[in-house]
């Protein structure tokens, strides 16, 4: 039932083309330890993300702290260079499809003509291999509004210099023409000429975000990245800013990437939503569909744990157990499986996962283990002092990860328990229906989430 693996990049509103397309983008930070500061591992902040930001629409990027959404926003804004993967700019529908096709071919299988097309596409659209002039044009076209109203405006500059700076840097205007443009921008965001000659500390949080937005609009960009623009604001001020952003999008036909951890705001603002967990996209799809019928347990748990003013949420609420794993060596298979209430044996359980979960939740039981013989990451023999210790381990471990006993993942014989988890490759983001993607391996096989 699963269509051939192609990237989410093929799936977008054909008419308007894509402002930015990401293919398998990764951002890893080296971890240095010990005396000689040797690199002992990689923090995989962003670990293979495919994404398409459709022109004129708002793409919501939601996830909890540490999931990599801000890093991803910074990569797209050009502030952080990706460790691997490609960033394509301004692809029209044909180019988009062409790139997906060529990408799937291995370089040797490419014909000369295809390689030529690939070179041309890269020279015109791939960030990093395009000409400096094109890169600079993209830089003008993509602006950012930051979260902390206090630290996103230079306290030493007047509003006139702050908002006017983009125009001065790109030598678009100067002198009185510049002042006129700045006043126009201020009026557009609900401020006025009287605010020109003031310092940032003389404004409230809401007014500062308006100045930040005015600065972002100075070069009348096509695409604005909003990195948690209203998280630091009170609800009443947040409403003013969100209304302003929507109004500007309508008037100027802007494309937004809206990054936030607030589900109410992302539901209100975005056409498409990408839910991120531990550096990867867990689920992607139109906003209301993702909210009404989520295809990934994590999206569902996020939705249910977010308190709302509306009626009671139907059914029992799922809960995540344990804490977010270490991004240096994330769990195998589906990354949520150690915490997921509906995880099965084939979700990527490894021997270490099970032992770590047992140690964390029932330390007494963990002490009874006398030895572990590993055949591989997924198969091992766990020895105990006594038979009943082994038995007890088997049935507690059985319920822990909601492992279905029938999967014969666990079998007890005498004083030892053999673990045989299916060898599972890392979960990939696959389409379940046009425009609806999930990386939950369980849903990919079952078609939909189990009823709560």
């Amino acid at each position: 039932m699963i269509p051939s693996p192609s990237s989410v990049a093929t799936d977008y509103d054909m008419a308007s083309g894509a402002v930015v397309t990401l293919n398998d983008v990764k951002v890893h930070y080296p971890v240095k330890e010990g005396i000689l500061q040797r690199v002992t591992g990689q923090v995989r902040a962003v670990d293979g993300v495919d994404l398409t930001i459709t022109r004129g629409k708002t793409m919501g990027l939601v996830g909890e702290s540490g999931c990599g959404k801000t890093t991803l926003g910074r990569v797209i804004a050009g502030l952080v260079s990706p460790t691997s993967g490609d960033l394509w700019l301004d692809l029209n529908p044909e180019q988009q499809a062409e790139i997906q096709r060529l990408r799937a071919l291995s370089p040797s299988a490419m014909t000369v003509a295809e390689r030529e097309i690939w070179k041309k596409l890269e020279a015109n659209h791939r960030l990093g291999s395009m000409s400096r002039e094109k890169q600079r044009k993209y830089r003008r076209n993509c602006q950012v509004v930051f979260q902390d109203a206090f630290s996103s405006l230079n306290p030493r500059q007047l509003v006139r210099e702050i908002v006017g700076r983009p125009l001065r840097v790109h030598k678009e205007a100067s002198g009185e023409e510049l002042d006129r443009r700045v006043i126009e921008l201020l009026e557009r965001v609900g401020l006025g000429a009287q605010h020109m000659l003031r310092y940032p500390h003389q404004f409230s949080g809401g007014q500062r975000q308006r100045i930040s937005i005015a600065r972002a609009l100075a070069l009348n960009p096509e695409f604005v990245i909003l990195d948690e623009p209203t998280s630091a604001l009170d609800v009443s001020v947040q409403a003013q800013i969100l209304n302003l952003l929507v109004e500007l999008q309508k008037d100027l036909g802007l494309t937004y990437l809206f990054i936030t951890h607030d589900l109410g705001v992302v539901q209100h603002m975005s056409d498409q939503i990408a839910v991120m967990y531990l550096g990867q996209i867990a689920e992607y799809g139109p906003t209301d569909q993702v909210f009404n019928s989520p295809l990934h347990p994590y999206s569902r748990i996020l939705r249910d744990s977010n308190p709302t003013l509306e009626g009671e949420v139907a059914g029992s609420k799922w809960e995540l157990s344990g804490t977010v794993p270490n991004p240096i060596n994330p769990p195998r298979g589906c990354r949520l499986h150690p915490r997921c209430p509906v995880a099965t044996a084939s979700c990527g359980w490894s021997v270490d996962d099970l032992l770590f979960t047992v140690e964390d939740r029932t330390p007494a039981l963990y002490e009874t283990i006398s030895g572990v013989e590993r055949a591989s990451d997924f198969q091992a023999q766990v020895m105990f002092e006594s038979d009943d210790a082994a038995g007890e381990f088997a049935n507690t471990a059985g319920q822990l990860g909601a492992l279905v006993a029938s999967d014969q993942a666990l079998s007890v014989d005498g004083k030892s328990v053999t673990l045989r988890f299916p060898e599972v490759s890392d979960a990939a983001l696959l389409p379940m229906s046009p425009g609806r993607w999930t990386s939950c391996t369980r849903t990919q096989t079952m078609g939909k989430l189990p009823p709560s």
Binding site: Q207, V235, S236, L242, N243, V246, H268, P307, L309
Partner: protein, 396 residues
């Protein structure tokens, strides 16, 4: 909601802060009550005075620069007399803090001392309020133990290094230490922490945000207080962990009958976790009542504006009802309704008189001139804001 004696009566509380720029009226004649095992939510935006009000209940506001300008905080004792926390001698206030009223803070990372292990900080509460229990468990007779042992028990509970205060006899000191550790482990286990012994000996920076908040809860509920003040307990946490922490606090309240004073800026939390709610704006309470009722039919313009500003699933995009303008500064404020400048029903009287908190019905109160007669205010009727809804409701 039980309608017997309230546990806490806050009467006409005013707190002012002196600064070079003038005197800020952070809390202005606030009065409310908290009933035993009830959850009251104190809701308002940044700078509305909710946190200062909460901290005043255990007299935590630093004096200077703060000053309790007026009012009393009455705590009901077992013999149903009342103690005014603001007037009582500090020794008595300290006996109340942590034993009868305890508090958890917004950022657990900052509220735990980075240089001490979790166990040691938790033991401090027991050392301070349950020294006799420690002695009893350790089998050291209360009478002949004497003040020295009691002091050492106290010190030992929070002692920097365990050896520093060892008792005369080795055996006693081990017994003492064991009884303290048992109390700490039981408190931690009570909040569902899986491996309390390991957590007891670890340092705050080794724990996740959610785990640190559980430790704070364990520490606050260690002596089974009558009131728990929760100052935005989950604002610094992710939404999935927030749900579990709020659930935990709710369960522990059911088990122990502790009253909870919730401080939050998030109205949607109030619906699920609070029995009653008091909405604050610019240092004053503008509306109180049962949570569901206030959320369903808010009376005060500010509460209405606040609820309308929250994005809901069916709110069309870009049409959030934002409250225009911003909060006035509270330095030497004139006598006025502080919301007048942003209120759609504002009338001349609103920027002259301070509205009183009047009860519409036994459990509902609102502070807005729209619900008052011109006569009581001795000002011309045309100066008063129109009272349409109120008349309609009264007559229907």
């Amino acid at each position: 909601m039980p309608d017997q004696e309230p546990l806490i009566k806050v009467e006409d509380l005013s707190v002012r802060f002196h600064s070079s720029k003038g005197v800020a009226h952070a809390v202005d004649h606030v009065s409310f009550e908290i009933f035993p095992s009830e959850t009251l939510a104190l809701v308002g935006e940044t700078g509305c005075g909710k946190s200062v009000t909460a901290r005043s209940i255990i007299r935590l506001v630093p004096e200077p620069p703060g000053e309790y300008a007026s009012g009393r905080v009455l705590l009901k004792n077992d013999d149903s007399t009342f103690t005014d926390v603001l007037a009582a001698p500090m020794k008595q206030v300290r006996a109340i803090r942590g034993d009868r009223i305890s508090m958890i803070f917004q950022d657990p990372g900052k509220a735990l001392n980075p240089a001490l292990t979790v166990g040691r900080q938790l033991a401090e509460v027991f050392g301070e309020h349950r020294a006799s229990v420690i002695l009893g468990d350790a089998g050291i007779g209360g009478a002949k133990a004497g003040a020295l042992v009691r002091r050492i028990a106290q010190q030992r509970a929070g002692a920097l290094s365990r050896g520093a205060y060892s008792l005369v006899s080795r055996k006693k000191s081990i017994a003492l230490q064991k009884s303290i550790d048992d109390l700490v482990i039981r408190a931690l286990a009570d909040t569902g922490i899986p491996n309390p012994r390991k957590i007891m000996n670890s340092y705050p920076h080794e724990l996740s945000g959610g785990m640190k908040q559980r430790v704070m809860i364990a520490q606050a509920l260690a002596c089974d207080p009558d009131l728990l003040i929760a100052d935005e307990p989950t604002t610094a946490l992710d939404v999935t962990i927030q749900a579990r922490i709020l659930e935990l606090i709710h369960q522990m309240q059911q088990r122990r009958g502790t009253a909870i004073l919730y401080i939050t800026h998030d109205l949607s939390l109030v619906r699920e976790f609070a029995d009653r709610v008091a909405v604050m704006y610019a240092g004053r309470i503008v509306e109180t009542g049962p949570a569901r009722e206030v959320l369903a039919s808010p009376q005060h313009p500010y509460t209405q504006g606040l609820l309308a500003a929250i994005p809901r699933s069916q709110t069309p995009r870009g049409e959030l009802a934002a409250i225009p303008g911003s909060v006035p500064h509270l330095i030497d404020p004139p006598a006025q309704c502080h919301f007048a400048s942003r209120c759609q029903w504002a009338a001349p009287a609103c920027s002259r008189d301070v509205p009183r908190l009047l009860s519409l019905s036994p459990k509902r109160e609102v502070a807005c001139l729209r619900f008052e007669q011109a006569a009581d205010r001795s000002s011309a009727p045309e100066d008063m804001p129109i009272r349409a809804e109120f008349e309609r409701k009264m007559t229907s």
